[in-house]
Structures are given as structure tokens and as C-alpha cells.
Symmetry: none
DNA sequence: GATGAATGAGATTTCATTCAT
DNA sequence: TATGAATGAAATCTCATTCAT
């Protein structure tokens, strides 16, 4: 999005070119199954240039993740600062941000989910601190709501954040795996429903005050 | 643990030995980062024997996944057949089964989650049908509840299943990543809370019948 | 020379094969200029087998050097133990051993001199302790002779060893570089002359009572 | 140190800068282990400038060697022309020149010895003619002495030169390898002793005319 | 002269898989 | 069954050299 720092205006930022190529190659073939030359070819640059800009293939993925995840952290922080919004509103905005991220950059999000977020032995472990930061910010939204009485007090913010983020990531996985269609309607519906499911719960409420169906 | 089918009684089942060794090696180093010789060493058998029992390194992981995932499908089917239990009860039992699976075989579950369930380019894709089968069974529990009015009708079973399974898998990830402690209390608490969160929702309900707090 | 430890008698010791091939390839093209595949080709084995037996290309050279240099150390120790021989005799035997080593295995000695003995940044440094051990053994021969009065006392054994070994290594270099012919006569002459030069000195001894000899 | 031939007076001679940087980099890391960029960094110039002044990395080493070795040849020629000096005096002066060369420019001499003089497959071979020229000049000093009777006639000048030069180069190696300390006293002592060892021999001479100790 | 991004051939090393015993 | 030596394709990474500016 931003141009390289000190480059001639009409010159192409090759570093950016490589990063963008890597997104698509990693998404298509997977980090382990693709070769560095695949990335170079996709970017239309020479093999060695990849190593001019990055120490290793891993550094490319690290860069991709760090750039994008920071955007999400910033977004959650900014969402949380909105004094006018309820906790449910805030969670809706968080869900929207993540789902829109996928809508606009599905390959990048795919790479992050498939290669980083669940990679407990490699990248996930390496970026654990940053990953947790996002969870904690979501947890804080819930904890604030528990304090003001709008959310149940018996589910901790940390736990709620896991459920909430896990549900969203699973939705993204479903799109990634082509289990459900990727239409604008689906994306919008998903935003509302995931918040409704997590905040309002799956259970029907007409029973309230009347006969409860089950324990 | 179980003896091989047609084997001398005092002989060790080397195939099982290799599978069990693979669980721990895959969990510890990751499928891609470990070598076939690591598995053979861990099992205490010769290098070539691995190839006597399995066509390839991938087949080992396939076997591990298929064995275990089928158990889960069977369990969900059996849970769903209990006529006496409510949908919430059934979901509690499903959550219990998955969490107990992790409690008793954390390495195996780690391998499944880390290497298969989110591996959109390799194993996840290969086993997609089986993976979806589990989701659909959970979805069916929800759909039945929607039909009998105990669950909201506006959240489809498919969608609800995603939220529910995603939340649980995220909890397992938190244990895998050592984000939260692995104690028996935690496991039991998690079972209840995840069901409460997904079925009952995060929002407090004192308002019910009265003025809703926020949009 | 010795066969591999536990091998079938008619089987070829591939490890030895690789070492011998490496001697010739390193001698012909130089350690840095040759590829591991050159060694494998020369040995007639597959590429990967080299790495089955050796950790790296460097380990091959290390092995070659260590094997051979130890033989020399053993030889010098054994020469030094001969009670009947004078210091000059002992130095003659040392010179003979080294020169004969070159005569019988010129490529191996070439590799050691060219790639190890003077390689102050790489192999020479790595094997410095072993290299010095040989120098010290030669120095001890001289020191013993100084003590019994047969050698001048003002040139330390350490210093003398440097001159002696340096002179011999230079002779080998001359053969390696094809500066002087490699004939049996040359080798035998060199043995005597190097000892005569170092022990007796270059200067004529007309002072010695009478007529300058010459011719 | 010396300014470039046709340069603006206040401009730095970048070519010289590169050569001097190369001396230290080659000495520190070895010719093969260092990169052209190491040389450029050490010189504080841009990468590409190295290729403006030199055709290749090898040409830098060639230049370094040729410059220095010619100085030595010139020195030996000039030493040999001194009609007043004996052969021993001349050899002392040659030894002095080489040892002082090391004393004043140890890195340069290290590079020459480590990378050229014994490099039988690469640089040594390429510069063999020049290298031999030095040996021959030393040999000539000896041959003249044989002719006038001051040196033994049975050791050829060529052979004696090998012993003499080899001894000195070994001394330099000992300094390079930190086997012996590099003090001014050591350097001066070495000059005398190497000449004494080679010209006078190691053997004590009181026996002359009397009882010879050994055969 | 001076810069450093760009190139790409080639080297080492890894390791899944085969196979003779 | 069981062994582990043997194979060789392929991957990552290095770095001398070129070249546009």
C-alpha cells in the first residue's frame, strides 16, 4: 500500500513485489511445498534478489505475518477506544475487520492462518507474543463488559476471546477450504451471526420466564 | 497398546510402535521438520522397517489422522443418538470427548490440529471429506434443536457447528501453545464454559423481559 | 591399508573408497575448487553416500589429515626411541620418512601441505595442536643432542625443528610444483642433503685442519 | 601510502585503499572465505568500485603478490651485487629482508605465504615463474660461494636455496600461527639463527679434527 | 569515478525412498 | 520381517560479477 521509502517515483519496489508474490505462492502451494524460485518467478525477479532483500525464505513469511498482524492489533485497539459502542458492537467491529481482511486479501489471511497461527512448532511459536496480544485485546473488551454488567461474569475475558477468535478463524478456514461460498452476502451474514452466536448464544430465548426446554 | 491382528503373541507390534513414535516425533518437531529416521529411532526400529509398513512418511500421518478422527465421528454419532439428552447436553458431550481426547493424548491431538485440520494445501485438503463429516454431525445436532425450538432458527446448524468446533479447537491450541495451564480443573471448566459461551452466549440476561441494555 | 571394521570380506569399503578418491581429487583440483560430486564420481559412488559417511566436505579433509599426520607422529616417536642412533641419524630417518611418504603417496602429502599445513585460517588452525606435536618431537631430538654436546647449544630445539621441517616441506613443495624432477635418485639424494645442509651446514670447513675437498 | 600516479592531490587513491583493505581481509578470513563485499566494506567504498579497478577478486590477490614479490626479487638482486659481502652475509641480508617484511607488514606476508606460495593448484602455479626467480637468485648466491670455496660444493645452490627459503618461510608460519611470540628480539634472533643453522649447521664443531661423535 | 541493486550459476547439504542381504 | 547402506533429486543459500544510473 505504502511505497518504498526512498525510491524513484516511477521505479517499482522490488521488495514489495517479492512480498506480494510470496503471498500468492505461499497460499497456492504452501510454505513448505514451494521453492524460493517459485516466489522469484512469480515476482518476475531474479533468484538472488530474494536473498538481497530477505535473509531466508522464513524471513519473508515472518515479514508478511508481522506486517498484517500489527494492522489487526492496531484496529482492535482503535475499536476498543470507541466510547459510544457496546461490547457487542465492538466485537462486531472486530469480526468485521477480520472477515473484511479475508475478503480483500484472502491469500494473505490464508497464509497467516495456515502457516503461522496454528504452527505450534515453527512460526506460531516464534510470533506467540504478538498473537497473544490480539487475544488479550479482545479479552479486554469482554472483561470491560463483565465489569459493567453487560456480559456474564462467569466467563473470563481470556476464555471468551478464545471462543470468539476461534469461531472466526474457523469461518475463515471454511472459506479457505471452499466449504462455504465466498460471497459478499455470506461475509456480511457471517459478521452478524458470529457475534449473535457468541454474544447471544445459540439457544432460543422465548422460553425465558416460561418452560426451559433443556438443562 | 492393542496387539496386531495376526501376530505371534510375544512379538511386539512394530507397526503400532512406529505409529506411536510418529505421534511424539511429529508433535515435538513438526511433520516437515522431522526425518523418517527420527521416527525409526524413536520407535527403536530400523530405518527401512518404516517403509515395510508404510508407503511413505505421509501415509503415517494419514493413518494417525484417520484412526483418530473416525473415533471422533463415531463418538459424535453415538452422542447424537441419545434420545434423552438435550442439544446443549449433546454439545457438552462432544466438547467433553474432544477435550478428553486432548487430555489423554495431547501429542496426537496436537499433530491432528497442527498438521491436518488447518493444512489447506496438503493433509487438510486430502481429508476434507472426513473432516466435514464431523462438522456436519455437529450441525445436525443444532439443526434438530432448531427444529424443536430449543435453538434459535436464524443460525444454521452448519454455521453453529463452525463456531462451536472453532471455539474448541482454539482452546486446544491455547493448551498446545502453553497459553493456559493444562490442569484437570481447566479441562473440566473449559467443557462447561465453552458450551455455556456458545449455547447461552456471553451476554448477561437479567434484562430479559425488561429493557435491553444495548443494541 | 586396514580394512573397514565389520564388513563382508569381499565387499568394498566404500568409506575408504571415498577417502582415497578425495585424496586424488583434492590434489588435482584443490579442496576449494572441487565439488563433492567430483569426489563421489571419482569414487564411483552416489552423491549422497559421501554424506552418509562424512558430515561435510571438510570432515573428509580432516580425516585424511588426521590419519596421515598421526602416522608421522608415531614414526617420529619410534625413531626417537632408537638408543643406538645419533641425532643426525634420527633426523635422517625423519627426513626419510617424510620424503618416502611423499614418494609413495604424493597426492596425499600434497593435500596435507597445500590445504592443511599452511592454511592459517582454516584447517591449519584447526589441527594446530597435532601439527605442533610433530614439531616438538623433532625439537626434542635436537634438544637431547644439545644436552649431550653433539649439537650446538645456541640454537634451540624448537628453532632447529622449524628450520629442519621447513626445509623438508619446501623440498616437497618443489616436487609438487614440478620445480625439480621426482626420481628415486632425487629422493635419496634429498634425504642425505637436507640432513647434511641442516646438521653440517652449507659452509665449507677448510679450517678443518687441511685441504678443502669439493667435487 | 604512496599517492596514485595521475590523481588530484586531495583525492584519496581508492585503488590503493582497496588493495590495503584486501590485505587485511584476506589475512583475517582467508581469500576463499571472504567476499568481495568484505573488501569493499573494509575499504569503505562501494561494492562496484572494486570491479572498476580490478577485473576480479583474483586479480586483487595477483596484484598484491606481484607488487610485493618483485620488491623481494629486487632486494635480493641488490644484495647479491654487494661485492664486499660474504655469502653468509648475503644470506643474512636476505633473511633480514624477508623477516623485516613480515615485521612491518605481517598481513601482507601472511597472505602471500598462505594463499600464494603453497597454493599449488591456483595462485602458486600462476606465479610459479616469479616465485622460482627468487629461489634462483638465492641459489646463485650459494653457487658463487661454492665456486669460491666458501660453501661446500656437494650441495647445489638450487637445493640450498630450498632449504634456506623453506626454513625462513616456516619461521614466518610459526609467527603467523602464533606458535612463537612476535617480538623485536625474536625477529632479530631469528635472522642470526636461521643463517647460523643453515650455513654453520646444527652440529657442534669442537670435535673437528678430533673424535667424531657419530657417523 | 562511484554506487549498490540485480543477476543467476553453482555449491553444499538434506532426506525420502529403494534395495540387496 | 528386519536392516541400514546406497541413491539421487531437489532445496536453500552464496557470492562473483554485471550494469543501469
Amino acid at each position: 500500500m505504502a511505497a518504498g521509502p526512498s525510491r524513484a517515483p516511477n521505479s517499482v519496489d522490488k521488495r514489495r513485489l517479492i512480498l506480494d508474490a510470496a503471498i500468492h505462492v505461499f497460499a497456492r502451494k504452501g510454505f513448505h511445498s514451494c521453492r524460493v524460485s517459485d516466489v522469484a518467478d512469480e515476482a518476475g525477479v531474479a533468484y538472488g534478489l530474494v536473498y538481497h532483500y530477505f535473509q531466508s525464505k522464513e524471513e519473508i513469511l515472518d515479514t508478511l505475518f508481522t506486517e498484517r498482524w500489527q494492522l489487526m492489533i492496531d484496529a482492535i485497539v482503535s475499536i476498543d477506544q470507541r466510547r459510544d459502542a457496546s461490547a457487542r458492537d465492538k466485537l462486531y467491529m472486530v469480526a468485521s475487520f477480520i472477515i473484511d481482511s479475508y475478503r480483500h486479501e484472502p491469500d494473505l489471511m490464508k497464509v497467516i492462518i495456515v502457516e503461522v497461527t496454528r504452527a505450534a512448532n515453527t512460526f506460531g511459536l516464534r510470533h506467540l507474543t504478538k498473537i497473544r496480544e490480539a487475544y488479550e485485546l479482545i479479552g479486554k473488551i469482554v472483561d470491560d463488559a463483565r465489569r459493567d454488567g453487560s456480559f456474564k461474569s462467569d466467563i473470563s475475558g481470556e476464555f471468551a476471546a478464545m471462543c470468539f477468535y476461534g469461531a472466526i478463524e474457523q469461518l475463515l478456514s471454511a472459506w479457505i477450504f471452499d466449504i462455504v461460498p465466498e460471497t459478499d452476502e455470506e461475509f456480511e451474514r457471517a459478521k452478524s451471526l458470529v457475534v449473535e452466536a457468541i454474544c447471544g448464544g445459540l439457544e432460543a430465548e422465548p422460553s425465558r420466564g416460561l418452560e426451559p426446554v433443556s438443562g
